[in-house]
Each structure stands twice: as C-alpha cells, then as structure tokens.
C-alpha cells in the first residue's frame, strides 16, 4: 500500500486526502477487518476505507487504471438491475471495460468451469426488483428532506 492506515489518518488531519485517494491503498483494501479488530483506539478503519472508496468514486479521485472501482460500480449496476449478481457475467463485464484482452486469459478457466456445469449464463432477476427501486427512491427523498446525512452519489442533505 502506498499509504498506511496511520498515514491516511494523518493525511485526513492535514487536509491532504486527495493524495490518498489517488494512491493504490484505498482499493487494495479487501475488508479483512484485521485492522478494526486490533486497533487499540477502537477506530473502525475498515468502515473508513469504505468511506474513502465512496468519496473517491463520487469525486472521480481514484488510482489511474484501477480495476476495483470499475468492478464495484458494475456490481452495483447489476444488483440494481437484477437484484442478484452472478460472478461470470460480472467478471466479463469488468474485463470488457478494463482489459478486453484479459478475457482471453480467462478462457481456460471458463472452459474448465463450463465443463463441470459451473457456468451461470443469465442473471436471475428477482421479482422484488421494483420493490427495491421503490425503497431506493424513498431513501433519496428522505435524504433530500434531511433525515439522514449519509453519503452516496450526490445525495448530501
């Protein structure tokens, strides 16, 4: 990682978060929660990393060429559309956007999986998808009316 957790907090205190957001650190975080569990000051660092990810996406400040933000955004699109996310279509979509030639590397893997019947093709759309949309919509309204100052693209109250 370009910036260690301590350096992230120091950067925040100094108003120099941008350098952190542009580093590889934010999207390297795999949410293993080891930091949160061990921190002697009880800081929920993993949650902070999530917030940095969201900030980075919101303000377009991410490490150049990073695949992880693309993967997360694609994931969100799929959930919003289908309610579930099958892995292969997800990975395919991400590779198409970031490294189309990488799909070739995946073919041997894909073949092996296909031969063993482990390849899902179409995402399953849940019936409650419109329900979820309605709830999301109500959430936005709630934010606009100032119920909860949360993060989320352009939804600051």
């Amino acid at each position: 990682m370009d910036y260690t957790p301590r350096e992230i907090i120091a950067a925040f205190r100094a108003g120099l978060l941008e350098r952190v957001l542009r580093s590889n650190t934010v999207w390297l975080c795999a949410s293993c929660y080891l930091c949160t569990v061990r921190c002697p000051s009880g800081i929920k660092l993993t949650d902070i990393m999530y917030e940095l990810k969201r900030l980075g996406v919101e303000f377009g400040l991410v490490q150049e060429g990073a695949i992880a933000p693309v993967l997360s955004k694609t994931f969100v699109d799929m959930v919003d559309r289908y309610g579930r996310v099958p892995e292969i279509p997800l990975v395919m979509a991400v590779l198409l956007k970031t490294n189309p030639l990488g799909i070739l590397k995946m073919i041997p893997h894909g073949l092996k999986l296909f031969l063993r019947g482990r390849m899902p093709f179409w995402p399953h759309r849940i019936s409650g998808i419109s329900e979820l949309e309605k709830c999301s919509g109500a959430m936005t309204d709630a934010l606009v009316s100032g119920l909860h100052p949360g993060s989320g693209a352009g939804e600051e109250a």
């Binding site: 929660y33 969201r54 996406v57 990073a66 019947g117 979820l132």
Partner: protein
C-alpha cells in the same frame, strides 16, 4: 426466533452459479442433521463489499429488505457465505445502534410496505452446526470417518471478523473442532484466518496471487492433503488459481479444496455426486481414496 433448528436459508449470489456444490452439500448435510433450511423467497443480493464501496445507505437497504423478509417468516437467517454474514450482520447491528439510520431505512422500507423490527439473527451454518447441533449429534451420523485425512482448516476473514464473538478473531477453532468430529486431522495452520484476497484476484492479480501462494505454502508446509473452506469466494480463489500461482512462482501446488459441508457429507456416507465434489477443479480422488472408504 422460531424453533432452534428452523432457519430461513440465504444462499447468496455466488452459490447460484460457480459454487452450486456448496449449496448442494449444505442442504444435504443440514437435512441429515435435522436443520430445516427453507430458502428465503425472492432474497436479493446482500451487496457484499462492492455495494458498500459505492453506496452506504442503499447497501444497508439491501440487507434490510432481506432481514424484513426473514422477519416475516419468523425465523433466523442461516448463511453459508461469510461476506453475506458480515454484511447482513453489519446492517443489523448498525441499525440497532444508530436511531437515525434505523429511521431512514424504516421509511425507505415503508415504500414497499415492508418493516424490520430488529428481531432476526444472522448465523453461519458452521456455527449453527458446532454450537447448536453439537458433538454428539454430529458424531452419531459419521458412518464413514475421514480417517486422519490431513486438512488445513481455512476460515478466511469475515467468519469471525469483525462481529464473530463466537470464536477467536485471529485463531478460531470451530472448524478444527468439527473436522476432528469427522475423524479428520486438522493440521496446524497459522494463516487459517488470513485474507485470501477475495476480489483482488480479479482487480489486482499480482497481489492476489501472492496471498494465495502464502496460504497454499503454509498449508503444504504443515502437511495438509487438502484445504477445507467455509466461504465460496475463498474457495474459488484458492481452487481456481493454483495453476497461475505455480506459473508465477515456479511452484507445484495441487491442493484439493473442499467445502466443509462436502467433508461432512462424505463422513455421513453420501457420494461425490450428491455433494457436488465431481464439479471440483482439482481432483480429490486420490486423497479421499486413501482416507475415506469406498468413495
């Protein structure tokens, strides 16, 4: 909530496609142990790490809908994926602790005539089996002990971290204990709760491969004949990329990777097909032949 052994089953997205074997074997052994797993109808993706990385509140909403649906069934939620476990538990906890969050989500759910009153508990199947079912009941069903099959018990990160107070957060023992009940020999595995990298294998391959290499190396050094997993993402990460690891690091790992439910099923007398073991990418035939009768 509900009877001790009745759960709403939440498989999670990764069990629908590449990891159907986990779903299959989980249902098989649960039935055998008298755990009623009725799939939660029309469940939606929990969002895992990815959704929370983009949207905080909508991520909580995803969990809340599942919890609301489960609450209607008046049963607790049983999961087999630690990411689902952590994500659902996080929303559950945070809504419980933060009244503002609770109210926001509640008003969002209302739009679909849903409500969640905070009564559902989310539990991983491994924890249910070890703590609720217990040694006697499990051992009673072992008709085909795994005869000292050397297994590296791999927990991954999100089984005990951050909310899993039921076991140690860095050196858990639940899976080790279960493996012993099945007659297998859990080997010393210091990296048992260290991260496999998860999605990093896709988003940052060198880092991902390095992490998997450490895990495989540690398992092999400690004499493991196979690795037992309790997470579908850990499973695919460990299983599918051993070739890539070998290419990059000039190693020769070929470690069969099995779900804990598959190992249980074998010990209970089920065959490879019933447990989805025939879908594996690295063959476990030889090690099973050595230790488990007539597989």
């Amino acid at each position: 909530m509900g009877s001790r052994l009745e759960f709403s089953y939440y498989p999670g997205c990764s069990l629908e496609g590449m990891n159907k074997a986990y779903d299959k074997s989980a249902r098989v052994v649960s039935k055998e142990l008298g755990i009623d797993l009725t799939e939660l109808n029309d469940w939606n993706c929990c969002g895992a790490s990815a959704y929370m990385s983009i949207q905080e509140l909508r991520a909580h909403l995803l969990s809340a809908r599942n919890l609301a649906l489960a609450e209607k069934e008046k049963k607790d939620l049983a999961v087999v994926c630690p990411a689902c476990l952590t994500t659902l538990t996080k929303s559950n906890r945070y809504m419980g602790e933060d009244p503002k969050l609770r109210r926001t989500i509640a008003s969002a759910l209302k739009a679909a005539n849903l409500q969640y009153l905070g009564t559902v508990k989310v539990r991983h199947l491994l924890e249910v089996i070890v703590r609720d079912i217990g040694e006697q009941e499990v051992k009673a069903r072992v008709s085909r002990p795994l005869s000292d099959l050397k297994v590296a018990p791999y927990y991954g990160c999100q089984f005990t971290r951050p909310f899993g107070d039921f076991d140690d957060k860095e050196f858990p023992v639940m899976l080790d204990t279960l493996l012993k009940w099945l007659g297998a020999e859990p080997v010393n595995f210091p990296l048992k709760a260290k991260c496999c990298g998860g999605m990093l294998m896709t988003t940052n391959e060198p880092v991902g491969l390095g992490l998997v290499r450490s895990l495989l190396d540690c398992a092999a050094q400690n004499g493991a004949e196979c690795v037992a997993t309790i997470c579908p993402l850990c499973h695919i990460t460990l299983e599918a990329y051993q070739g890539n690891v070998n290419k990059r690091f000039a190693t020769s790992y070929k470690l069969p990777t099995l779900y804990f439910t598959q190992l249980m099923g074998l010990a209970f007398g089920f065959n490879r097909k019933e447990l989805g073991i025939n879908e594996e990418l690295i063959s476990s035939k030889h090690i099973l032949a050595k230790h488990v009768e007539a597989v």
